[in-house]
Symmetry: C2
Subunit: 227 residues, 2 copies
């Protein structure tokens, strides 16, 4: 079996992406980050998803994005609530974490090279998303090109590929794909600003996009929210 | 004054690069990494260099490359000694750390975006070096292109630039440039495999390239080696 590194936040997109990599016959190495995020509860979700789907290894790396700052997810900046879809599409929100996917993909690349893996999976989505620049196809293509110039294996001709199976899907389509692959969405965590006991707020961008997705898919979300 | 993020390992290349950024009138934010390297003594050198040259801030980030492995610098793999120049040029050595500069530049990019800086300095060199793929101009260009697609500021038109002032210089030229800018090379540390009390081994690639550079520059190295 070929190995793949799969970035796994613990949300429903990355859980579905991991299930897709698995159904594509990859031996999956899941990679999560404790980066000072206010919703660090997602790491517990990631662990449960790994146990449920089955991975060769789950590596949780510690990185200190809070010493860099600049985001509502790592700083003392309020998470926006109750935004409409057009508000989300109008500008990049304060929950954007500078260069986060670039840092995550860089570590995934390092680990892939060590594991003799050529395939990296990331659950970015450029349709139903918060407008983050590092979720777009042109960014992913540029990262892949750079990755093959950056590395010993890349230079030797073992081409690294960044797989983004969800990039052109709506949230509803992603949920239906996950259901088809038996992803247990009750294990996933999406909320940016959960209550101290881990309940989803129901009003942040991430909760609202998730809600819209389940409505679109015609399925009831097993994860309950406060509102 | 415009701000710049300057990657600083504590070696003579990054010290000279910091001095160049400073002489180019940038307000310098130095960034170093404790990444599980066997020569972590270089971080102490980086601190002294910052104090000597003068920076706005010196951020030392902790990252765990040893959990990823695959290098003589982070793993229990012997550091090669006594290699000739042609041996160095023949292949990428075991001291290569998978995707290291990509990870370092990614954090530099994140910090630059938070600081409202558009300029990132890195002391890579493609002439007198160990053959690492992530020291070549084509890699740096690809990273820069990716960086401007990855980020909020990049998308908004504030172009990030990766400065590599040493990339086409010989080690001797770098040392002469450093002397011209009053870099105190006695503070720098280059050895991959220092003794427990911090003395340079004199035989690893990094020591040998440094030795050749000082000979070329016609200057005596203030840092002594065991051999």
């Amino acid at each position: 079996m070929k190995r793949a590194v799969c970035l796994l936040s613990g949300g429903l997109d990355s859980a579905t992406t991991l299930a897709i990599a698995k159904s594509d016959q990859f031996d999956c190495y899941a990679l999560s980050f404790r980066y000072g995020q206010r919703h660090r509860r997602e790491i517990e979700a990631a662990k449960k998803i790994c146990a449920s789907i089955g991975v060769a290894r789950h590596l949780i790396m510690e990185i200190d994005f809070s010493s860099i700052g600049g985001s509502a997810l790592t700083d003392d900046i309020p998470v926006p609530k109750g935004r409409t879809e057009s508000m989300m599409k109008a500008s990049i929100p304060v929950t954007y974490v500078p260069a986060r996917n670039t840092v995550f993909l860089s570590f995934a690349l390092a680990w892939a090279e060590t594991l003799d893996a050529q395939d990296i999976f990331i659950g970015v989505n450029a349709l139903d998303y918060s407008g983050y620049p590092d979720c777009r196809p042109e960014y992913i293509q540029a990262f892949e090109k750079m990755a093959n110039l950056a590395t010993k294996k890349g230079v030797e001709g073992n081409v690294f590929r960044i797989h983004t199976p969800l990039i052109e899907m709506t949230k509803g389509q992603i949920i239906r794909k996950g259901i088809e692959l038996c992803v247990d969405f009750s294990l996933t965590h999406s909320c940016y600003d959960p209550s101290p006991d881990g309940l989803a707020c129901g009003m942040c961008d991430s909760c609202l996009i998730r809600k819209k997705g389940f409505e679109e898919a015609g399925i009831s979300d097993p994860v309950k929210t406060i509102i």
